[in-house]
């Protein structure tokens, strides 16, 4: 049970992120919750590809032959960059919303304005 700790940590991170997104009304905290979910997904991906006793899949001066799975690490790299792009885009939208409405409360900006 304790040996599965990385999966439990990933699940915990994702649950905390989803709870933050559902409970908080401040838009910046909603973005923070989404970043937490991204971190959980990255941890889950890397933990899924771990092979017991393996080393990083890089052959430069490698001490042994058993290596962890490289594809999930490449996917994690892709996920990190896309996460940075979407987080920056959402934060700038929050800045525009704050400038327009004077608040970053999700309930206050719900009504439409002409």
């Amino acid at each position: 049970m304790l040996y599965d700790l990385p999966f439990l940590a990933a699940a915990l991170l994702m649950v905390i992120g989803i709870a933050t997104m559902l409970l908080r009304r401040n838009l910046i905290k909603v973005v923070m919750g989404l970043s937490l979910v991204e971190a959980g997904v990255n941890l889950l991906l890397v933990a899924l590809g771990y092979r017991g006793g393996g080393i990083a899949p890089i052959f430069t001066n490698a001490p042994q032959d058993l290596m962890v799975l490289p594809t999930v690490q490449a996917m994690t790299l892709t996920n990190i960059v896309i996460g940075i792009a979407t987080t920056a885009l959402m934060l700038s939208f929050v800045m525009v919303i704050y400038r327009r409405y004077g608040t970053a409360d999700a309930d206050a900006v719900r009504r439409l304005r002409g």
Partner: protein, 155 residues
């Protein structure tokens, strides 16, 4: 809003070292941990250090948004052009036609652990450089745009 003179001087001294370290990570992407994205992010932190240490009006005259986003566009174009040269010379899109060719970056590599040779891996170092330039431009210009939004608000 501007930092003290000590912070600005230290940032100016640190910036070339961050630049060199970032380009080291970019160019050794096919040998050691790292690559275009990571090295580009390291160089972008150097630019962000300069931007945070100085005032916005001072920085935006030295580092313009047009040059950074121009570098970003250039990186993406170089990446796509490298992929298209694979289509033209290697048969398929993204074909690695330079690997084992004996030309630049063309030394052959045998299976197994080896000390590493910078002159290998074909088009991968070129794509690393392209993606590094793109990420450096993109991340720096994001911070510059956000700072311009704050400066517009405050002043």
């Amino acid at each position: 809003m501007t930092m003290s003179k000590i912070v600005r001087t230290a940032a100016g001294w640190l910036f070339p070292f961050i630049l060199v370290f970032g380009f080291y990570i970019v160019m050794h992407g096919h040998l050691t941990p790292g690559g275009g994205f990571q090295g580009g992010a390291v160089i972008a932190t150097g630019f962000v250090l300069l931007i945070v240490a100085g005032s916005y009006g001072d920085i935006s005259r030295r580092i313009t948004k047009a040059s950074l986003s121009g570098g970003e566009t250039l990186g993406l174009l170089l990446f796509i052009v490298t992929a298209i040269t694979g289509l033209a010379l290697g048969g398929t899109f993204f074909a690695n036609w330079l690997a084992d060719g004996g030309l630049i970056f063309g030394n052959p590599v045998l299976f197994g652990a080896n000390p590493g040779d910078l002159n290998t891996a074909g088009v991968i170092p070129i794509m690393n450089l392209a993606v590094g330039v793109e990420v450096l431009g993109a991340l720096s210009v994001i911070v510059l745009y956000m700072l311009s939004g704050i400066a517009e608000e405050g002043a």
